[in-house]
Symmetry: C2
Amino acid sequence: MMNFEEFEEKTISRQEIFKGRMIDVVLDEVILPNGETSTRELVFHPGAVAVIPITADNKLIMVKQFRKPMEKVLLEIPAGKIDPGEHDYPKETAERELEEETGYRANQLTFVTSMYVSPGFANELLHIYLAEDLEKVPNPRPQDDDEVLELYTLTLEEAKAEIATGLICDAKTIFAVQYWELQQLKKLLKEDKR
Amino acid sequence: MMNFEEFEEKTISRQEIFKGRMIDVVLDEVILPNGETSTRELVFHPGAVAVIPITADNKLIMVKQFRKPMEKVLLEIPAGKIDPGEHDYPKETAERELEEETGYRANQLTFVTSMYVSPGFANELLHIYLAEDLEKVPNPRPQDDDEVLELYTLTLEEAKAEIATGLICDAKTIFAVQYWELQQLKKLLKEDKR
């Protein structure tokens, strides 16, 4: 088993390329463990949160929205980036995004997992929560000014069908649908064993 | 249900920020469906492929590597970006990356899913394949010059434990482990029903 030093890429220099509202881009020159030099193109992102909201009648609440990088409309679970000040409290981001995007509040909000979405070039860490025991918020916080969303509620079978059509096509949502299916199968297996 | 036009963000102007070896970065000025203007920070990526290699004794082959964006060593399934010329053939990228990173060839390589890893700012599309019926390649294609990898084989329980410790912490690998668990549960349920 190799030590950290045998993997580490040491930074020789860093060039700041871009500082944006959402991402920063830098170009690092590095020394590899074998002594060679190379470059690394890096995107720094504040992190994000996604929510898997399941209704009392076992449906998944989703949002349809335009995504500029693909110039396409995608059907996704509610999600959003972590705002300044929320960094140590991704659960608060989850509560805020769920309310802003769907108008719901969850009486039960359970941490599922955290994942780096594209570790080759980006440091974006996505925290995923399961939201259950939902209730409508009387006067929900409004959506972001630059977001146009449409709400949907889907059964597991409908969600799996939309993965097949390609309308659901992003990592967090495909993960979420698979997570939901796995939880249902685990319940079934438990019942079978009784 | 809204039409595409009611979601679409029309590009007014595009500023090229960076052209790299792996990513291109642009800043778009857009008109939102409500008539307001905003900016979109976009990362263009050639796409990537990941492989879930399962051995005959039901273990997952993984690679440990340093990831500069996080300055951390991660345990991941084999993956790599699509090279020029491979674009219409992600399965060939999967074969190449499996051989380069693990020294194995798969007699059975099955498409699992394709997913946009971070649709808010990046167009990176990741194609995932399940690799089974593996055999050692006598003289495998070498690893990329700038990659230092260490191979591991883990049982499902070991992989789930490494998600808990945080050594496995990227989206494609967490998805892969969950996918593997789901396939095993589905088999169990089928056997139960007999």
